[in-house]
């Protein structure tokens, strides 16, 4: 399965299993989503459960909160990363806070899904990586799968969670990776990182579409005789600091790779965790390898912005030779 198919399959399984689930957003119904993630679901489950909403992200998220406190379990799609911002107030002021505000009287079992990230030659607002914004808001969990298998298992867990989940989908690898994934239901923990590859010299932490780029970088590193441990974060908030910390204590080195702007980012958070969890083991400065503090460029300029395996290797080597 591709990741698109795996997500579709997860939605299908849960829609079938739990009548309280509804799926909506812009063009998710008849059209099946601009990336076809919800294809076929409206036909199967009807317009009352899978439907197009008016074009208003604040409305999509705000109404979903209403549904979530009154017996439904909404899964909403925001069409692109850059269109999560109109919903920012509902997310920051209500979705993340309703449980606390009501002292647990209401839980907020809802999932906000959206494709994110660059590398697809898109127009402005279609290549953003806003994970750090959501991870700074208390009351949310933010997750990102990097494989079809993870996407399916994590999405099912997200849907079953009583807490609101930001579920970010790396659009660049929506169809780029195929994997055997069972059609049966399974779940994966939401806050566990995964050690993709063990190694002893440098810890590389990544998530989403960057995992694959890091794997390519590791091949180069292998040839250069550097043994890299690769961690796929999977959960952005909370970060699995146990797994990350243990690895850095072993290798003494961290290279944190992500697409977002580097300042005030997941990269900064990982560097901080390296200090908090492995200070005495650090053998070189933990390092962010990320996008610049610029708008993600349009197609012609994106080559400068996007993080290549070569650049990741360059940083791995620098860290190793420090």
């Amino acid at each position: 399965m591709t990741m698109v198919k795996a997500i579709n399959n997860a939605l299908d399984i849960k829609l079938n299993e739990d009548k309280s689930i509804v799926v909506y957003g812009e063009d998710v119904g008849v059209e099946g989503g601009v990336f076809r993630v919800t294809e076929g679901l409206q036909k199967k489950y009807g317009v009352e459960r899978v439907f197009d909403s008016p074009l208003a992200e604040s409305g999509i998220v705000g109404t979903a909160l209403g549904m979530a406190v009154s017996g439904l379990r909404p899964i909403v799609e925001l069409q692109f990363d850059g269109f999560t911002y109109p919903a920012f107030n509902q997310i920051a002021s209500n979705v993340s806070r309703m449980q606390n505000r009501s002292r647990g009287k209401f839980t907020v079992p809802m999932v906000i899904r959206f494709p994110y990230g660059g590398g697809v030659n898109a127009l402005e607002h279609h290549s953003d990586s806003p994970e750090s914004l959501f991870a700074h808001l208390p009351g949310l969990k933010v997750v990102v799968p990097s494989t079809p298998y993870d996407a399916k298992g994590m999405l099912i867990s997200a849907i079953e969670s009583e807490d609101p989940i930001i579920f970010m989908e790396p659009k660049r690898i929506y169809r780029a990776i195929k994997q055997e994934v069972s059609e049966e239901k399974f779940t994966l923990p939401l806050s566990k990182a995964k050690i993709v590859k063990e190694g002893s010299d440098v810890t590389v932490v990544a998530f989403g579409a960057m995992v694959r780029e890091c794997q390519k970088a590791i091949e180069i590193a292998n040839e250069a005789g550097i043994s890299v441990e690769l961690i796929d974060l999977r959960s952005i908030y909370p970060i699995d600091r146990e797994t990350v910390g243990r690895s850095i204590r072993k290798t003494g080195r961290l290279v944190a790779v992500a697409e977002a702007h580097e300042s005030f980012s997941i990269g900064s958070e990982l560097v901080t965790i390296a200090n908090e969890e492995a200070f005495l083991s650090l053998e070189s400065p933990p390092r962010r390898v990320m996008g610049y503090d610029t708008v993600v460029p349009l197609a012609q300029g994106e080559k400068y912005y996007i993080i290549s395996p070569e650049r990741i290797f360059y940083e791995i080597e620098k860290s190793f030779r420090y």
């Binding site: 509804v22 009352e48 459960r49 909403s53 008016p54 208003a56 604040s58 409305g59 998220v61 705000g62 109404t63 979903a64 909160l65 209403g66 549904m67 979530a68 406190v69 009154s70 017996g71 439904l72 909404p74 107030n89 509902q90 002021s93 209500n94 309703m98 449980q99 606390n100 505000r101 009501s102 002292r103 647990g104 009287k105 209401f106 839980t107 208390p138 009351g139 969990k141 969670s161 009583e162 807490d163 806050s191 908030y237 909370p238 970060i239 600091r241 146990e242």
Partner: protein, 369 residues
Amino acid sequence: MIQKDLPEVLRDFNPLEDKVLRVIDNDGHVVNKKMMPSLDDETIIDAYKKMLYERVADEMAISYQRQGRMYTYTPNLGQEAIHIAAGLNIREQDWLVPAFREMGVLLAKGVTMKEMFLFYLGNEHGGSFKNANNTLPIAISIGTQFHHATGIGYSIKQQKKNEAVYTFIGDGGTSEGDFSESLNFAGVWQVPVIFTIQNNQYAISVPVESQTKSINLAVKSVAFGIPGIKVDGNDFFAMYLAYKLAAEHALSGKGPVLIEAFTYRLGAHTTSDDPSKYRKKEEEEEWALVDPLLRLEKYMRSNNIWNLDVEALREEYKKEIDAQFVDAEKNKAYPIDDIFNYMYSDMPQELLRQKAEYEQFLSWKENKK
């Protein structure tokens, strides 16, 4: 033409012609017999008493704040007819999605003054309205609550429940994008939601004329294809009728209704506000003459159902409310767990770690002594 969707009896009150639904005039005389809801005397007396209770509770709260015993408070003065009329219509199973100036409706849903006080004393447990069925907490980020109401309406409709949603906003709130978005969603989804704009003519210092150029606020319904009606918000009977019909409309599957309750904020915006900075004493005095309590009293007197000793009632309410305040005031316990425990159902390690670190600091501090 939009109004064709309104209950028949309301169709004469077209907001496009700036008509206002009114049953009694400022002197308490019935000016529209046809529209007078049939309420027995006890109900009317009970309504008056509830309005008085809300009034006294407000006065007490303001005085606690002045005495420095409570933080900033948001009074309801002058808007009680709206609240009690809604409160008499809202049922156990109906949903209340409040803004922050509908205390009377909250009380009708079972919220206690003790809880209100606890909230304004700075304790979240006061604001959770634990025992009020289907009642959301106070919404401070203006406009956002309308979306929640629409979403709840969707739940009700989809699950074919016999429930309606009551939600509130101020005149100022109609400028927020969420106001328009949510009415639009509600129109498309045809959900059983009764949206009330409490037009008290001010958003803090800003008069409604600076808020919008629409001829009134009810007319905004036209933009979303839903019925709207402007009601005299200081006329208990008009408000009662409006809610009764709107509830029938919503519960019979005909979709949402927008009610503009035209009223006046008799008090300050909050206890931190000084209205003399932005409005004339004369204006306030003029509106004090059409105080909803006064109007209902006049009606009751001229219909010979006035049998209340207001001073005695006031004393009774004062005592009862003060007991609740003192009770709330006593509650000084605020365990540190209260900060962390409600953020998630499934608390992340990260929060446990932060709490543990803070506790280490606390024990260091303890040891230093």
